[in-house]
């Protein structure tokens, strides 16, 4: 057999598997652990020579009064202790550096302790809050209730701004009767700031307007109107314009409102105790000056309230002055004398008959004429001169005089005040009204304050309702009633304000069964509405008395309503 079978016996080399014994370096994962230096933003705040932060030197400086340390206030139990009042930056300041400028300022108490701000008397904490509100704001309304020291808060805020180098020229515009008051308050609260008053004949006024080195210029509304055209033509501008009693511009079409709005300015502040004296449009008008275009009449009260919220600060005595002496209100119902009543009855009957006969041609003016005539008879009988109110007032003043106290008496009419001055001569009654010169007014106030012979001061609502500080008087008499409760409140607050040493008694004379009682009922309802607005800005009251209210005083329907029916 030739077939051979070969069986291969070679064992093939196995495929070698080489195992590398060398340990390869691993892949590197690098974690940067170095913490890099962060970027830095730097803000400088030296707006002027630091030396100027302290007392201004040169011609602007007047000797400072001795400083009262805040420590002394704490010892006296004044509420200026450990709290810290910081400047509150307004929402409309957008630039971060500007916000930091205010945010990083020391609190007002620190400045106080440093003697940077000396005060004739220590401020209340709510006043420091008011200053902290004003200082950073270009548009602000300080609407504190009368008597809480709005002027003082504004003056101190001005002072701070001058020290911070934020303002150099300030204009204060106020009613004529308050110019001396402002001058006095400035010398009391900012003795180092020289103030110039714009007054006198045109050439003199223009020179006073142009005094560039004077930090504070005071002008009355009438001067601003008179010099309005010249001011517009000139290149005069102010870093800050403060309107005192800013309700004076509640009618935006008035010459006064136009004139103040035309003043070139950096900041606009309004001071008023009655920002909504008659209605929402009052506040809108004030904002035409404070922040033009921010609000308008088409806004609902809710929108209006929200839009102005960051620009308005309002406090009431009830919320901030726990230790303010109480105000006691008394409504004295007075029976007219027989002769007065006869005159009153005849006048009212005749008047109503005439109005009825006039039918649809009767106007509000006719109603006003009748109301005024009846109110005047309630004060003094036009036929006999008799006055039940005067008799009651004499009896009241006997007591006031005997206790060494003083009283202020308000009336709507200068004529009534003249009669009162005669009838109250034994109380040394002094008249104060718009017919007097500024000097005569100042003299009247000084006599009333300083002499024991004078127990009574007679004021018209117009001249005496705003700005005057009469906190030494403990009694207020409203001989007749004003149409607007806010004006009456302002009058009352001449006495019931900071510095009042005891309870203030307010007596309102109301002749029984007369037009005065009917007006009072409407005023009370308006006062309630006004309180509600200032608390929540939810609803605005009607402007003054409506036509329906006026005709309703005599039980008549207004012609417009009759036509509609």
């Amino acid at each position: 057999m030739d077939g051979t079978t070969r069986i291969p016996l070679d064992i093939p080399r196995p495929a070698a598997v080489t195992l590398a014994t060398a340990v390869l370096p691993p892949r590197t994962v690098r974690f940067p652990l170095g913490v890099s230096r962060p970027t830095v933003r730097r803000f400088g705040f030296s707006r002027e020579d630091p030396a100027a932060h302290r007392r201004p030197a040169g011609p602007l400086e007047r000797p400072s009064r001795p400083r009262l340390r805040v420590v002394a206030a704490a010892e006296e139990g004044h509420p200026a202790g450990a709290r810290r009042t910081r400047l509150a930056c307004p929402k409309d300041v957008v630039k971060l550096s500007e916000r930091f400028f205010y945010l990083l300022q020391p609190d007002l108490e620190t400045l106080l302790e440093a003697g940077e701000l000396s005060f004739a008397m220590p401020p209340f904490p709510f006043q420091l809050s008011g200053m902290a509100f004003l200082v950073p704001r270009h548009a602000a309304v300080l609407a504190d209730e009368m008597g809480l020291g709005k002027s003082m808060q504004a003056i101190t805020a001005i002072r701070l701004l001058v020290r911070l180098g934020e303002v150099r020229r300030v204009l204060v515009v106020c009613p004529k009767g308050l110019v001396s008051n402002w001058r006095r308050e400035l010398s009391q609260w900012a003795p180092e700031l020289v103030a110039a008053v714009v007054e006198g004949e045109p050439r003199r006024r223009r020179w006073q307007w142009s005094l560039a080195d004077v930090p504070v210029t005071i002008a009355n509304y009438e001067s601003v109107v008179r010099d309005g055209e010249w001011l517009e033509r000139s290149d005069l501008s102010f870093d800050l314009v403060v309107l005192d009693e800013a309700q004076r511009i509640k009618n935006r079409d008035s010459l006064t409102s136009r004139a103040v709005r035309a003043i070139r300015r950096g900041r606009s502040w309004a001071l008023t105790g009655t920002p909504v004296e008659n209605g929402a449009s009052d506040l809108v008008s004030i904002f035409e000056f404070v922040s033009p275009g921010l609000v308008d009449d088409r806004m609902s009260p809710r929108q209006l309230g929200a839009a102005v919220a960051d620009h308005v600060m309002r406090r009431t005595k009830a919320t901030v002055l726990e230790d303010l002496p109480p105000r006691m209100n008394r409504d004295e119902s007075i029976e007219l004398t027989a002769e007065q009543w006869e005159s009153y009855r005849m006048a009212e009957e005749e008047g109503v008959l005439r109005l009825s006969a006039m039918g649809e041609s009767a106007t509000i003016q006719h109603i006003f004429e009748l109301v005024l005539r009846l109110k005047q008879i309630c004060n003094f009988d036009t036929a006999t001169g008799e006055s039940a109110k005067l008799e009651r007032l004499r009896a009241e003043l006997e007591e006031v005089q005997a206790s060494g106290q003083k009283a202020i008496i308000f009336s709507q009419w200068v004529e009534s005040l003249d009669r009162l001055a005669d009838g109250l001569s034994r109380f040394g009654a002094i008249a104060y009204h718009g017919g007097l010169s500024t000097t005569a007014r100042d003299r009247a106030i000084a006599k009333f304050r300083d002499s024991r012979k004078h127990s009574a001061l007679l004021l018209t609502y117009g001249a005496g309702a705003v700005g005057l500080n009469l906190q030494f008087a403990r009694y207020v008499f409203l001989f007749d009633r004003w149409w607007n409760p806010a004006v009456e409140d302002q009058a009352i607050n001449r006495a019931h304000r900071i510095g009042a040493k005891g309870a203030v008694t307010v007596t309102r004379f109301l002749c029984a069964d007369t037009i005065e009682e009917r007006i009072d009922a409407i005023l009370e309802s308006k006062r309630a509405v006004s309180d509600a607005i200032l608390a929540r800005a939810e609803s605005m009251p009607a402007r003054g008395f409506t036509e329906a209210e006026l005709f309703g005083l005599f039980g008549l329907a207004s012609p417009r309503r009759r036509l509609a029916a």
Binding site: L33, P38, V40, R41, F43, R84, R86, L96, F100, T110
Partner: protein
């Protein structure tokens, strides 16, 4: 007494932790009355987890004192008489500056840094440049408020 104008300002330096953004630093220079002269703040610093683990206990001091504090001091244009801090994490700041550094304790007393170059005597000389009743913890509140403001306004 040295006139106020010739007195050097005082620096206040602190850091603020924000859970949303990271760690901020703020440095406020004030005059003897406490008015601000210059303020600097840093962009926020955020740390990675790895940095947190690997720096270990050295992280806080390094981050606060060197990275943030040192940077703020280096960037300032005004040299203060003293730098006050209110956090122990900033205690190492003295290593980053030749300026004297002191810690303001929450309960009031001020102490020079234990191993810093400032001795108590020097501290006593430096502080009177501020008003006697000056609340030394108050400027730190201002810095925190400003950093808070910066965060809210981007």
């Amino acid at each position: 007494m040295e006139p106020a104008s010739s007195q050097k300002p005082v620096g206040f330096l602190t850091t603020v932790e924000s859970s949303a953004h990271g760690l901020f630093g703020g440095y406020l220079l004030v005059d003897p009355v406490g008015r601000p002269l210059e303020f600097s703040c840093t962009a926020p610093v955020r740390l990675s987890r790895a940095q947190q683990i690997l720096y270990g206990p050295t992280l806080h001091g390094y981050l606060h004192a060197d990275r943030i504090g040192g940077t703020l001091l280096a960037e300032a244009t005004i040299a203060p008489r003293i730098v006050l801090i209110d956090q122990h994490e900033l205690a190492e700041l003295h290593a980053s500056t030749s300026l004297p550094v002191a810690l303001v304790r929450p309960d009031g007393p001020v102490e020079p840094q234990a191993d810093g170059p400032l001795r108590r005597q020097e501290l006593e000389r430096a502080l009177p440049s501020l008003l006697p009743d000056f609340d030394l913890s108050e400027p730190f509140e201002r810095i925190r408020a400003a950093i808070d403001e910066a965060q809210r306004h981007g």
